[in-house]
Symmetry: C2
Subunit: 345 residues, 2 copies
């Protein structure tokens, strides 16, 4: 089988994890890498990944340089959560006739929050005959696609609630800092105001995707303020200690409104010292469904899996900007990988 | 929106439940009904459904009579678990240019157990430009499609196990009888030998579908003997009592083998007096995933939902015999139903 030729766009924390996993996959070949960080440009990808070999792939500042001599099939894009930043990057990849899978949270379902950008990306992708997808574990799976999946067993649905609780002590230090762990409450609030702490990005996108899949015309999506979770006793991770009364992490909710009712409520909690980690989905309907994944699916591990596992499906998909709800049921890509690529050909 | 014109093939227990649900759906119109039972032929569908109105649809013995004057879009087929019986029925529907969704368990994934029949149905469906799907809650959802979905969050998988435990007291009397509730052990064994009790049909199909989706080349699928679950104390449903020492229901397992390892193990249990009802999926891999739906999704309620909710996706799908793993992520069909039908057009 011809290998899938992959360009990495973004070799940060998540991009590096994806790269290392792709290096293990016999069906994948990394043929180029882009990163904007000055300390990475010009270095060999192997060096930047911290693995014990050079890969003969120099990290470029621009996509033009990364794929000038080699054709690639798909770009794996992992730079920012926000479309404002990723939009020009993604369009440049499309213009190089590359399929794109991105971890950009706002790309997971941009049709509600950024309909103009969504339509532009869709049109450009169709023009270039490539497929673009934003995915990851969340948004992309536990708080949206899995909800959509479970809804299929329901005749009627009144309300959907999901709760994701993460013990931040199990995550990387940058994640712990991103959620404000260890800060005084005033400092947390200040960083929220300055948008240095943004909380989880994607709840609004997840709600919009669920509503679209189910056929609900959403009237409004309310993103509640990001709240600090205060340590009621000293808690700690390997990397940092949180005194009683300081911020252990954060909690945020978003609500989708149909006919004045809160029909979709997503509740995201990430803090050091969470007693239980879980992903909970509750559907009030016919039948009621209560589903729990315990512990919750690890964010980084799951995102690396989702991005990689969607590669065959994106390569086989019709052109355009697609979202998880439009694609065949996702699956692991194990064993005889030819079978993953030959399905729709 | 033009309504979806539906022919019912089989107006038994499950077919009747589907019919009643479809009557509530504004986008659906039942235009014909077929049943082989002498006491139903010639009667009005409303009478057979036991609802307080006539529907102007006479139950026919043959599909030719049911759709002679009216074109239909799709047939909902609910007669038997076994392809041996349903194959000629399904081909007759295809030959009338009808899309087909069937509750036939063996049709959920016939490529492993009945490859020749599967290929024939696929070819015939393509010839007539229609799509054929076997689905339901199980097979079709809790022990296969949902497993495939969850596998997408995994980088590696060593083993998959699912357990479905049903308290038969919550189900219809025919279901309770089908699993042997109330019988003496010897009588249970006799009926197993005579194939009067077949147990749950579909475990082998579910394993084969999971393996295909994940890319595992399955070497063998072992369907273990159906075992009686013996009442350790008196248990009862509304309809029947089971003395201590008698059969309360049954348990059966099937195992998918890859490279001499049991990589997929499905465990189905249905008996009166089960303390807990649940659907459990355990994936040993990176990451490990343990997912529990509690109580388990009700078989009849879920099957009616699955069959109905797949109608828009089957109408939009390319022709051929498809299985759940080939189709877009399933979802409830609520609210603005036009949106469910206009997606891929």
């Amino acid at each position: 089988m011809k290998k899938v030729r992959i360009v990495l766009y973004g070799v940060g924390a998540v991009g590096s994890l994806i790269a290392k996993f792709l290096l293990e996959k016999e069906w994948a070949e990394i043929v180029g890498a882009v990163d904007l960080a000055k300390d990475k440009i010009g270095k060999d990808l192997g060096t930047v990944l911290g693995i014990n070999e050079t890969l003969g792939i120099s990290i470029s500042e621009k996509i033009e340089r990364a794929v000038s001599t080699k054709d690639a099939d798909i770009a794996i894009h992992a730079t920012s959560s926000f479309l404002k930043e990723t939009y020009p990057q993604i369009t440049s990849l499309i213009e190089h006739n590359l399929n794109v899978i991105s971890t950009c949270e706002e790309l997971a379902y941009p049709y509600f929050t950024s309909p103009t950008i969504a339509k532009k990306i869709d049109a450009l992708a169709k023009q270039h005959g490539v497929t673009v997808l934003g995915t990851g574990i969340n948004p992309g799976f536990v708080m949206d696609t899995l909800v959509i999946m479970l809804s299929a067993a329901c005749q009627k649905i009144e309300k959907i609630q999901t709760v994701r609780v993460i013990d931040a002590a199990t995550r990387r230090l940058p994640f712990q800092k991103k959620i404000g762990a260890g800060l005084k409450i005033e400092e947390f609030q200040k960083r929220i105001e300055k948008k240095e702490i943004t909380g989880h990005v994607g709840l609004v996108q997840s709600i919009a995707m669920i509503a679209d899949a189910l056929g609900w015309n959403i009237e409004d999506i309310l993103a509640e303020p990001v709240l600090p979770v205060i340590a009621e006793k000293p808690v700690e991770s390997r990397e940092l200690k949180v005194e009683t009364g300081r911020v252990a992490g954060l909690r945020q909710r978003a609500k989708g409104i149909v006919k004045d009712e809160e029909v979709i409520v997503l509740d995201f909690q990430a803090y050091i010292g969470a007693k239980e980690e879980y992903d909970l989905i509750t559907i009030n309907g016919v039948p009621n469904i209560e589903q729990k994944i315990q512990p919750c699916i690890h964010g980084d591990v799951g995102t690396v899996a989702m991005v990689t596992n969607m590669i065959p499906k994106i390569i086989s998909a019709p052109p355009g900007l697609v979202t998880m709800k439009d694609l065949p049921v996702p699956s692991a890509t194990l064993g005889d990988v030819k079978r993953h690529f030959n399905r729709n050909s």
